[in-house]
């Protein structure tokens, strides 16, 4: 898997990774909920991008690039600028640090999120592992 982030191919690779990674399958075995990653334009990214993933019991059931959020009501919406999210993907910015220092906005059920922080962190690990090239 070697696809540029962000792209449809990258999203597909992430889906394959989530569906084949045994560690993720174990940690996320109780996770029930879809999420949308909203990437706000900054740096080389000139337009907002929305990446939708339906995650269920350690698997990814569906992915889609959306035009806006009108067609879905995801359990979580994660929003960050391209610069910050690419730093997360490159391993330069810890996702918890991003969330706690105003670099990554999280909206959704906080009770569910705080109970499942390890799942979220392992999701990011998988995303990082399929990210071999970043838009620059």
């Amino acid at each position: 898997m070697a696809s540029i982030f962000p792209s449809f191919e990258w999203l597909e690779d992430l889906s394959k990774k989530l569906n084949s990674d045994t560690k993720y399958a174990r940690i996320a075995r109780n996770w029930e909920g879809d999420l949308c990653v909203v990437i706000e334009p900054s740096g080389p990214l000139t337009e907002q991008q929305l990446y939708y993933l339906d995650l269920w019991h350690g698997k990814c059931r569906k992915t889609e690039i959306l035009k806006d959020l009108s067609s879905v009501q995801p359990k979580f919406v994660l929003t960050a600028t391209y610069d910050n999210i690419s730093r997360i993907m490159k391993g330069e910015l810890n996702p918890m640090q991003a969330m706690m220092t105003r670099k990554l906005q999280v909206r959704g059920s906080m009770a569910y999120m705080m109970r499942n922080v390890p799942t979220v962190l392992d999701f990011v690990r998988c995303a990082r592992e399929v990210t071999t090239e970043i838009l620059s």
């Binding site: 640090q97 009770a111 390890p118």
Partner: protein, 605 residues
């Protein structure tokens, strides 16, 4: 700032004290300014329970404004529990109301002949008989005094029976259940026969540049309301962190002796939100509202527990009953006892009972089995009333341990019980607990959130692994300085407000033109001043240590096998701080650098 009103309870005399302008500039307010004001009076000879012992209630330059989470005030003095610097800050509405009276602080000395309460109505002070409320709990006391005064909007800060009876971890409560719990300041009030202070004011809070302050605080509040952490605290309370802290092995169980507890998920902030939560409560002008309102099986709405109370009476005692934790927390609030120290000291009793150090002979037949909520409740009653084994529990875990010749088993630092953020889960807390000016305190730097990820580069903080060692010492020191600024404003530490916003608010409120490093310098100055106070009171490097339990690795859980390398961390910390490694005192050079030459002459003579 506005004057401080001095009240001598022995004579009934009052006097206005004008704070020197240069002290306002150097210390800002709150606990930092209190340290400067009280420095000459906190001597080794001073008995905290003597009439001469000062009890200083102080606001900060932002307190009571509509700024972000600045509804807090601080109480300071010499701790009867530790014999060292005492400070405990408190939310609610009482502090702002005091400022609306035209005073930024109340400085109480002396001892009334009989129980009294103070009634401050704008600029007019009365010392009133408190016979009707002496012996009442804090909730009853607030209600009775408000009714007696009859002025709408009055806020009452009061002690409970624990403060009256000299429990060394007695606090003061206002606005129902908002507590200044730590270091035993409620017992000092009790020693003065001071039951309560009621305040109601109508004056405006002075701001140096109000035209700049107003838009700044609006922007700051809007930004704070949108912040992730504000959402987390609003939705789940401070116990939001419970699940993750447990996963990381940073939530103590079984009095810091177990890394796991099967029922832990039943007591988290998430569980509370999904079960008994009935609403939220907020302090003055707070957009977060982390306070919990819960409804138990009796249908009554009551204050819900925050993280420390949950762990103290929950996993710490192997209890997974959230309703029982709520009731035990309420019992402490009503008696006016700090829940961290109460649960910690009772945890030691359970631990020593299990080890056979204490037996049913010591407890008048009471069996202390882990998770037995009724036994915990009974011990709380005995503690507040100073009855039976409660006589020893009321003195805190250090003295309780000493009495049973097991002081080394007490999880405390310098006489203050360790809060429930385990240094084996977050190594930064090792330095925080070992060097805090008031004993094992998490509010002088809640570094666990930095270890978790809140390493804000705009503060000059780096993100280290939660189990990193000496390399994070300078980071810890810098975070302590930052939190000392918060404790001078007095701003809630849960507010994730950017440094440039805090700076702009201070500059506009105080008429300063500071940069970020000026803020950190003020924080560092106050941190060193409190250290010097403690050096003056006998604290040396030997006091900077962790209790035995925290240096033994857990066998299971998220931090199994790890102990913080405290010796190496302290070496690096002293270097970062500019403290003498032999004595633990700030070096004369460091004190001069911070404008504390007069302190250098004092502690190095």
């Amino acid at each position: 700032m506005q004057p401080i009103l001095k009240v001598n309870l022995t004579t009934g005399n009052t006097a206005e004290y004008i704070i020197p302008v240069e002290w306002e500039r150097d210390y800002l307010g709150g606990a930092s300014l209190a340290a400067r004001l009280l420095y000459p009076f906190l001597t080794t000879e001073l008995d905290p329970f003597s009439p001469e012992s000062p009890l200083l209630f102080l606001n900060g330059p932002l307190s009571g404004t509509a700024g972000p989470t600045v509804g807090r005030f601080v109480v300071c003095g010499k701790s009867p529990a530790t014999g060292l610097w005492a400070e405990s800050n408190c939310g609610g509405f009482w502090g702002p109301e005091l400022r609306f009276c035209g005073y930024d602080g109340l400085w109480i000395t002396g001892k009334a002949e009989r129980p009294v309460y103070i009634w401050l109505n704008d600029g007019k002070l009365e010392i009133r008989d408190a016979a009707a409320v002496w012996g009442k709990d804090t909730y009853e006391s607030q209600s009775i005094i408000k009714s007696e005064i009859g002025v709408p909007g009055t806020h009452v800060l009061t002690i409970g029976q624990a403060g009256e009876n000299g429990v060394l971890f007695a606090g003061l409560l206002c606005d129902h259940g908002r507590a200044a719990g730590r270091t035993g300041l409620g017992a000092i009030a009790g020693s003065k026969n001071l039951k309560a202070i009621a305040v109601k004011g109508t004056k405006k809070i002075p701001l140096a540049r109000p035209e700049l302050f107003a838009p700044l605080r609006s922007t700051a509040n809007r930004a704070l309301k949108e912040d992730n952490l504000s959402h987390v605290f609003h939705d789940l309370g401070t116990a939001s962190v419970a699940d993750y802290a447990d996963y990381l092995g940073a939530m103590p169980k079984k009095y810091f002796h177990s890394g796991t507890f099967e029922g832990v998920e039943k007591v988290s902030g998430s569980t509370m939100a999904e079960t008994i939560l009935a609403g939220t409560s907020a302090c003055h002008a707070c957009v977060i509202a982390c306070g919990r309102v819960v409804r138990l099986e009796d249908g009554t709405k009551r204050k819900g527990p925050e993280y420390e109370t949950i762990v103290s009476f929950g996993p710490n005692l192997l209890n997974d009953d959230l309703a029982a934790i709520t009731r035990l927390g309420e019992l402490c609030d009503r008696y006016g006892m700090d829940t961290i120290s109460a649960g910690g000291t009772i945890g030691l009793a359970f631990h020593l009972f299990e080890k056979g150090v204490i037996t049913k002979k010591d407890t008048a037949g009471l069996v202390l089995h882990w998770g037995d909520v009724k036994a915990v409740e009974q011990l709380l009653h005995l503690t507040a009333r100073h009855e039976g084994i409660g006589n020893y529990l009321a003195q805190g875990s250090k003295r309780f341990g000493q009495h049973f010749e097991a002081e080394e088993e007490a999880v405390q630092v310098n006489g203050l019980e360790v809060a429930y953020h385990d240094p084996r889960g977050f190594s930064g807390m090792a330095l925080v607990y070992a060097t805090s000016p008031r004993g094992a305190c998490h509010n002088q730097s809640e570094y666990f959130v930095v270890d978790m990820g809140q390493a804000d580069s705009s503060l000059g903080l780096e993100f280290y692994d939660r189990h990193a060692g000496a390399e994070k010492a300078a980071n810890v020191a810098r975070h302590q300085d930052w939190q000392t600024v918060f404790n001078s404003l007095v701003m809630c530490i849960f507010a994730n407000v950017p440094v440039e916003t805090v700076l702009a608010l201070i500059n506009s409120a105080c008429g300063l033109d500071w940069g970020v490093e000026d803020l950190f310098c003020a924080g560092e100055r106050a941190w060193n001043l409190k250290r010097a106070i403690n050096n003056h009171l006998g604290l040396t490097r030997a006091n900077d240590k962790l209790p035995k339990a925290l240096l033994e690795p857990y066998q299971d859980g998220g931090s199994a096998g790890y102990v913080p390398p405290i010796t190496e961390m302290l070496e690096a910390y002293y270097t970062a701080r500019g403290w003498d490694p032999e004595t633990g005192k700030p070096t004369p050079e460091k004190l001069v650098e911070l404008g504390l030459e007069w302190v250098a002459q004092d502690i190095w003579k």
